[in-house]
Symmetry: C2
Subunit: 146 residues, 2 copies
């Protein structure tokens, strides 16, 4: 979904194109990692839309398929823009909290096995990983940057 598609996307679902939605979409597409509702709210231009509006719009954007919810076992959920229909997974550093994307995913390859094992059709999945990022790894020359 290119950035400009947002208008059509919303119209198709009879949702309005509002300043809050435009801004949230901009914030999400500019972020390198999924953001929490609070983080999004903090980044809004003044006058800031209400936090409740952020929540409502995150749901609206999810409804039309522009945004995805990410659970990294924190106290809150994170949200990210779905670009080009691509779906990605994440890996979070257990030491410093850094979050990177994982584009590698072989779940589709597992689909057959899963459907055979469970009898379910596989419609959706989420995969989130936890590990230690390069700068937090011990016993290294620490040559690589953060």
């Amino acid at each position: 979904m290119a950035a400009m598609d947002i208008a059509n996307h919303l119209r198709r679902h009879k949702k309005s194109l509002t300043r809050a939605r435009t801004e949230i979409w901009r914030i999400l597409t500019q972020s390198e990692k999924p953001l929490s509702p609070n983080e999004i709210h903090r980044r809004l231009n003044t006058p800031k839309a209400n936090l409740a509006t952020v929540y409502r719009n995150l749901r609206a954007l999810q409804d039309v398929g522009l945004v995805r919810e990410i659970d990294l076992r924190e106290a809150f959920k994170r949200y990210e823009a779905i670009l080009a229909g691509r779906h990605v997974h994440h890996i979070m550093c257990q030491v410093c909290g850094r979050i990177d994307k994982i584009r590698h995913c072989m779940i589709q390859d597992m689909a057959n096995a899963i459907q055979k094992e469970s009898g379910f059709t596989l419609e959706d999945h989420y995969l989130e990983c936890f590990g230690i990022c390069p700068s937090c790894q011990p016993h290294k020359t620490e040559a690589q940057g953060a």
Copy 2:
């Protein structure tokens, strides 16, 4: 972890073996699917331990590695016993909510690719799937049971 190991497990972490913990462990090991704190509380024998105690003990059991938290995008988390150190994933029916286990997992096979792509070591991951269970699938003879 066999059912009897719970005592040693707890002792090793200087946690007491209490009635509430024993009961929660029994309830979790007897359940075919992960349970919410409320579900667990409901299944407690009278006199019921307090719900706060259930929460505290679920955390304690996680701390010692006996219990795992599962997020199926519901309003609450679910918890399940970790048996024999095995880790499983789940698939939940998007129509009726039925939850089945998936023992099939090739994430370990992805580990190399993920580590190469992100530079992170892969310490942990979770994978949860959503689909449609046999009894909820349309265009079928409906021959198979629930």
